[in-house]
């Protein structure tokens, strides 16, 4: 792979990560959000795949395959199942911050991510670390979605966006952080999604919906 093509593909996949994160903020339809999240999983896997091809590492290629299966296959499928169980109520109708303002906030968060992660780029300037701020931006946007959405499933997607961003940063700056930790992290994420999926189900049982505004009983 030539250096120019490598840069191009790196930029393209990183750009796709950010773009899908923005689209998640933008869209209201939960089914669409899940589809976008799956696309982001593909982009993340492609990013890792590009790194693997560049370094000629078989191990990394296998990891890329794992990322693809987990983030573009298993997790979206779990989310879709939770959505199917949720019945007709499939839209994020009233986010705490309206969508136009959320989009502007996402823009601000992206700039913030660029500003904050300047030391990362300075420490080891290379095409990969230069793309790392994009991963940080995805983390921040995910956190924003987690905080401002009212539907349980949207919050879950926000959490997963954060996780995708962290994974992207991890691969961009260090090509992963060791196999044991990698597998552990993937397992933990899967389990968290399962736990939250089960809780969503229970919530529907006892509250009759997954609008988190209902969660008002515990306070001081």
């Amino acid at each position: 792979m030539t250096a120019a093509l490598y840069h191009q593909l790196l930029d393209l996949t990183a750009g796709a990560l950010l773009l899908t994160a923005v689209l998640v903020v933008w869209r209201r339809d939960l089914a669409m959000i899940i589809r976008i999240f799956a696309v982001q999983g593909v982009a993340l896997a492609a990013l890792v795949g590009v790194l693997a091809a560049h370094e000629g590492s078989v191990e990394l290629a296998v990891v890329a395959l794992g990322v693809l299966v987990l983030r573009a296959g298993v997790l979206p499928a779990l989310l879709r199942r939770a959505l199917a169980a949720a019945g007709d109520d499939r839209r994020e109708t009233r986010p705490l911050v309206n969508v136009a303002a959320s989009l502007l906030a996402a823009a601000a968060l992206t700039l913030l991510a660029l500003a904050v992660s300047a030391p990362i780029v300075e420490l080891a300037p290379s095409p990969t670390t230069r793309a790392a701020p994009i991963g940080v931006a995805v983390v921040l946007i995910g956190f924003f979605v987690l905080v401002t959405r009212r539907r349980a499933l949207s919050q879950l997607v926000g959490f997963l966006l954060m996780d995708n961003g962290i994974t992207a940063v991890g691969f961009l700056v260090t090509s992963g952080i060791g196999l044991v930790v990698e597998v552990g992290v993937a397992l933990d994420v899967l389990l968290v999604v399962l736990v939250l999926g089960i809780l969503t189900g229970r919530m529907r049982e006892v509250f009759g919906g997954t609008d988190l505004d209902e969660l008002r009983e515990l306070h001081d």
Partner: protein
């Protein structure tokens, strides 16, 4: 020998989980959990002996590290686990009798508690920040089911908040780990995330990246430790979890997360100088104390009251860690143990109270001293210990933190300590006031309460008495723990 001992605290509870998984909850397996907790405690004590003799850390099987600090934390886990496990059978029996649980949910409860213990042991024994992260996240997953066990509206709400806030917080910590790993790789020493190599290479970490990483790590593990600003899950989760689980969560899980912060502080101090982590921890400490004080003044729920008191004590630990140095760190570690013993006993007592009176409201309980004198006595002793009365060890440790704070020679730390003491006094007044309203006065004469309350089961009573008594004994003399405490404090405090 060390290998076997190091694996025991992880494998024994895991084995216990498997036993319960296979055999379920029945007469024969009633005391399996208690036995495994006791074995963890024994292994912890033996490991502690080894660690003190060796002085330095020993890496076992590549991913476990036994040094005085991890051995000490293991002792804390063992001690609190024994208390909680002693009370578990009676608690479950009462729940089953009241129809709030059945054999299946009881079996699930004990399986999860054993897995929880194993995860916590792995967290403190991890030789590597990455493994530590995985273990801490595993505790979140396991305890989420325990918190939401009762399937009521409030329990589900608490579990949701708990998982979302803790997972998001801990995800930030993961980003911090990634960045720290990045900085470590660029030191050129071949260091990764292992504590030993990371500490050795800390002086050469890039300050810019390390700064971002430390902020994220303190924020993330701080969320799990119940430090402000990400503390909102704590009162809900601790008040909704079953009593033995609340005892474990409040008594040790918070401290395990705090242990991660202590380890990170070592790296941060070497890489960035002591000022950076100190600033972060002071801010978190004062914010936590302020939150606890403001919400305790008009607290109406006695389990939430205990939860907010946990936030207070985590704030005190953060204050002590911010002061730094061997003396303050020793006080912090002593405080961890004292708080664990007392708070778990109190949560067990509160759970018993909830079972016998059916309410967790403070004004729903009156005249407990005449109704159930033993329970009331234990609660009173625990509460006195919690607010820092001598002879309990919390008095000694709080005094140690305060003395180190005033003697640190840094003006900001001195002022922060003074402010913290004012807040602690406010909290103490609120706690004593609420508790005395519950314990004293005439018992209510409502119909149906004329029957004598059920007798306190002997095992629960043992746990309730043992907690405060152990704390009092520790307050009088640290005894055989003293060398371990000093060695562990040296691991963190280093040269002052």
């Amino acid at each position: 020998m060390v290998t076997l001992l190091a694996f025991a605290p992880i494998l024994v509870p895991a084995l216990g989980a498997v036993v319960h998984l296979l055999l379920g909850w029945r007469r024969a397996t009633t005391w399996v959990g208690t036995g495994s907790a006791a074995l963890v405690a024994v292994a912890a004590v033996l490991l502690a002996g080894q660690a003190v003799r060796a002085g330095d850390g020993v890496v076992v099987a590549g991913f476990l590290l036994v040094d005085p600090l991890s051995a000490y934390m293991l002792v804390v886990i063992g001690a609190v686990a024994v208390l909680a496990a002693l009370a578990t059978p009676a608690h479950l029996a009462a729940e089953i009798a009241a129809g709030r649980a059945d054999e299946r949910s009881a079996a699930r409860h004990v399986v999860l508690v054993q897995a929880f213990l194993a995860a916590m042991a792995l967290a403190v024994l991890a030789a590597d920040l990455g493994v530590l992260w995985v273990a801490v996240e595993a505790t979140t997953i396991v305890t989420a089911f325990l918190v939401g066990q009762r399937r009521t509206r409030t329990a589900v709400e608490a579990a949701w908040k708990y998982v979302v806030i803790c997972s998001a917080g801990i995800a930030l910590a993961l980003l911090g780990i990634v960045l720290l790993n990045f900085a470590a790789l660029h030191t050129g020493t071949g260091a990764g995330l292992g504590w030993v190599e990371l500490t050795a290479a800390a002086g050469r970490l890039d300050p810019g990246v390390t700064r971002i990483a430390v902020v994220l790590l303190v924020l993330g593990f701080g969320a799990k430790a119940g430090l402000a600003p990400l503390h909102a899950w704590l009162p809900d989760a601790h008040s909704q979890a079953p009593a033995p689980v609340s005892a474990l969560m409040s008594g040790v899980l918070l401290s395990v997360a705090f242990y991660a912060i202590l380890r990170i502080k070592v790296v941060s101090d070497l890489a960035l100088g002591p000022g950076f982590a100190r600033g972060l921890l002071l801010a978190a400490a004062l914010a936590s104390l302020a939150v606890a004080a403001s919400l305790l003044l008009h607290q109406r729920d006695h389990k939430r009251m205990l939860a907010y008191s946990s936030i207070e004590h985590m704030g005190l630990l953060a204050l002590g860690a911010a002061v730094g140095g061997v003396a303050a760190t020793a006080a912090v570690l002593l405080h961890v143990l004292g708080h664990g013993l007392v708070k778990s006993a109190l949560f067990l007592g509160a759970g018993r109270l909830l079972q016998t009176t059916g309410t967790s409201r403070i004004d729903g309980v009156r005249g407990l001293a005449t109704d159930q004198p033993l329970l009331a006595g234990c609660l009173a002793a625990g509460m006195l210990a919690l607010v820092g009365f001598p002879p309990f060890s919390l008095f000694a440790s709080e005094l140690g933190i305060a003395r180190a704070g005033f003697g640190s020679g840094v003006a900001v730390v001195g002022w922060a300590t003074a402010l913290a003491l004012v807040l602690v006094v406010v909290i103490a007044a609120a706690l004593v006031n609420h508790t005395s309203r519950m314990l004293l006065g005439d018992p209510p004469d409502a119909p149906g309460t004329a029957t004598a309350p059920p007798r306190l089961p002997r095992s629960t009573a043992t746990a309730l008495v043992a907690g405060p008594v152990a704390a009092a004994a520790l307050g009088l003399t640290a005894g055989p723990l003293a060398p371990l405490l000093t060695a562990a404090a040296r691991t963190v405090g280093g040269a002052p």
